[in-house]
Symmetry: C2
Subunit: 391 residues, 2 copies
DNA sequence: TTCTTTCATTGACAGCAGAAAATAAGGCGC
DNA sequence: GCGCCTTATTTTCTGCTGTCAATGAAAGAA
């Protein structure tokens, strides 16, 4: 990332200090001894690392009155003071920009969105800057400084360089978004792929906490996948990874915009469901809401389309599980609204296609409120704030 | 791993020293300055780390007379003295045991095999011990000590514990192979999954050197895959990963022994090819050699079976590339003997099914002599020798 | 011979983390 | 209320690793 234009320094100079802070951030209030165990350090090291962080107000100490052990000195819990700093997360979609203001613990304080008329970098940047201004005003009201921001975009994004290499959806190529946005907003900016950002949020603040290998599958307009292997988000040598949407599940299936047939996305993406429900019922279906309504009414063709979608998703997940053996797969996305319609098929297809002990993988669903994508972007900002060098 | 029964200590106590040694081992003779750059250390640190390694004879210095720069002091190259220590690698298959004696640079000195009549742990262990004894005799002839051994087995293997959790092929469950073999041979033993072991060999001594993300795909009786992500071999949370063989490429395809239809292995595995060539030509085909011969003769049905196999493999590889975005995929295995028959299909199917920049992934083939599997086991032994704690 | 250039080594030094010992903070039994 | 027991946390000291800046080495060039 380009050097932050203005930033409060975070007093964690060493990797160890950052690791300790991250552990407290993710694994909630902990005693110093617990913390030492989880971080694989001595208690002395923890004391030393924690002191400056408490001094700067990022960590606070308190006593857990409830769970006091019968014996020995009571432990002092260390936890992150969420209110110490604020972050802004921005998600750019095809037709709107979603922005959230979060605290240091990535809890959403304010969420806003702005419709987007023009997808060119200039207008998008202007709208994003406006949204940031609004959120900064909100932050002023809270009396806490905003110390970083994140922007997430679908497509091939080079986080280290802060450049959007190629975003088919927005029609962008090689846009140096981080530096442009930093200039426009005066904040440090982290840019990342949207699914990866969401994965970071799960890894640090969600269902991926404490796991070194897991996957996030998003179901919606597209079918996406974020992967964490060996404790790190997979970015791919060429900037693209987790393309579960274009895993073929049926070579005889419907054509996909990628040029192949029977991709998961061509069966279970929003557009595919709209098309298939329309075709099956003979109705003119215009959007997913309508397709979903038809299926909920029990119209056979519509239900079948959803069942097929569930099967495709389940197979896609099984493919991930067979290849990587993750501990957990978190299923999320707007498409989860239809979860009751295809949950069974997802699980069945997964169970059937998962090989051997890959089937032990824990499948878990997680609702995805619309601000969640933006929260992912905020999570990347928090990550950058903690370890300025990081990725 | 269990503590080595008898081992010459390797004088690399710190992770840094191990990293430096590994870099020299993989990236050939290097000057100290080069080494410092690659390891991200100062030149001083390299000097200090290298000294004891030279003292112990694991590294040697020599001058590169050819490529001397026009200016400045000529550089002294540092390289690993392969002859300093020997290792034994053993691969257990269903009907034979293959053993190799390698030097520290994993170059094969001697290769042997022994037919296997009984697959139970006891007889297998006895045969393996006999093979080790033979190889130790050979080593005596060379006057160099054997300091470690590795055994690779297909299936779910827990390397850290040295236990074969489940090997369907051998019919083993929870066999503590490392400790048993250590007792039987008197050598430190590392046990790992066969494909992962092969992947380690590629990572340290083959086409994966210097890459942090790549895959090895083996084509043969089964279709396997070893993955390296973030510079480390993927083992999977439940011990199983890289099951490309059971990725579905055609839900309407032939049934697979795993219970599904159209797995890569059910189309491109040896058994599948034998069956399909037999069915297509109406001939009674008994083994792959015969199937291959028919296809080479240009018998249409046989050629088509190989073409289909190529397509399935190509799709499987594309799936890996779409999900992980590796820099390179190394295709290997005994099945490569038929490479001329399906190379085109592999590449075409890969190119068609790879999404976006995943198609930039470098597909590379590598012949696999029969001792190569055993060499993989030796590579794991070398790895364990260098960092005793390691994975 | 002396310079210049590049590679390598040295020795002083700073910083981090671990070990052990000391200290803190409760409850408990008397 | 006092001393004891247990567990948590801090302090102090020590070792080690790696960096820095200066120095030495080994060429070819002037």
């Amino acid at each position: 990332m380009s050097p932050p234009p203005s930033a409060e320094a975070f007093p964690a100079n060493t990797p160890t200090a950052a690791q300790i802070f991250t552990t407290v951030l993710s694994e909630g209030p902990l005693t110093r001894l617990d913390l030492a165990r989880r971080a694989g350090l001595s208690a002395a090291a923890v004391t030393k690392a924690v002191r400056p962080l408490i001094g700067a107000g990022y960590l606070v100490e308190d006593v857990d009155e409830d769970a006091r052990p019968a014996l020995g000195r009571p432990a002092n819990l260390v936890r992150v003071d969420g209110g110490r700093a604020l972050f802004i997360g921005i998600k750019v979609t095809g037709d709107e920009i979603i922005g959230v203001l979060t605290d240091l613990r990535c809890r959403i304080m304010v969420a806003r969105h702005l419709p987007l008329a023009d997808r060119d970098p200039g207008p998008v940047l202007a709208s994003a800057a406006e949204l940031v201004r609004e959120l900064l005003t909100e932050a002023d009201g809270l009396g806490v400084r905003v110390v970083g921001s994140g922007i997430s975009v679908s497509g091939d994004v080079d986080r280290a360089e802060g450049v959007v290499r190629y975003s088919p959806f927005l029609g962008w190529r090689d846009v140096p978004l981080a530096s442009l946005a930093a200039e426009a907003t005066g904040l440090p900016v982290t840019v990342d792929n949207d699914v990866r950002a969401l994965t970071v949020a799960e890894q640090w603040f969600g269902a991926g906490v404490g796991l070194s290998d897991f996957a996030v599958v998003t179901v919606g307009a597209g079918i996406g996948c974020g992967l964490v292997v060996h404790g790190k988000v997979v970015a791919g040598a060429h900037g693209v990874a987790g393309e579960i949407g274009h895993v073929t599940v049926d070579p005889a299936g419907p054509p996909c915009h990628c040029g192949n047939r029977g991709c998961v996305e061509a069966i279970a993406g929003d557009a595919a469901l709209v098309r298939q429900v329309g075709a099956a019922t003979g109705t003119h279906v215009t959007d997913v809401a309508q397709a979903l309504a038809l299926a909920r009414q029990g119209v056979p063709g519509a239900r079948a389309a959803y069942a097929r979608a569930g099967e495709a998703i389940g197979r896609g997940i099984a493919t991930v599980a067979n290849l990587l053996g993750p501990e957990r797969v978190i299923i999320s996305g707007e498409g989860l609204a239809a979860y009751d319609l295809f949950a069974e098929q997802i699980r069945d297809a997964f169970a059937a296609a998962a090989f051997g002990s890959a089937a032990q993988c824990d499948l878990r669903t997680r609702p995805l409120p619309f601000e969640e994508w933006a929260r992912g972007a905020a999570a990347t900002a928090i990550q950058s704030f903690i370890r300025s060098d990081a990725y």
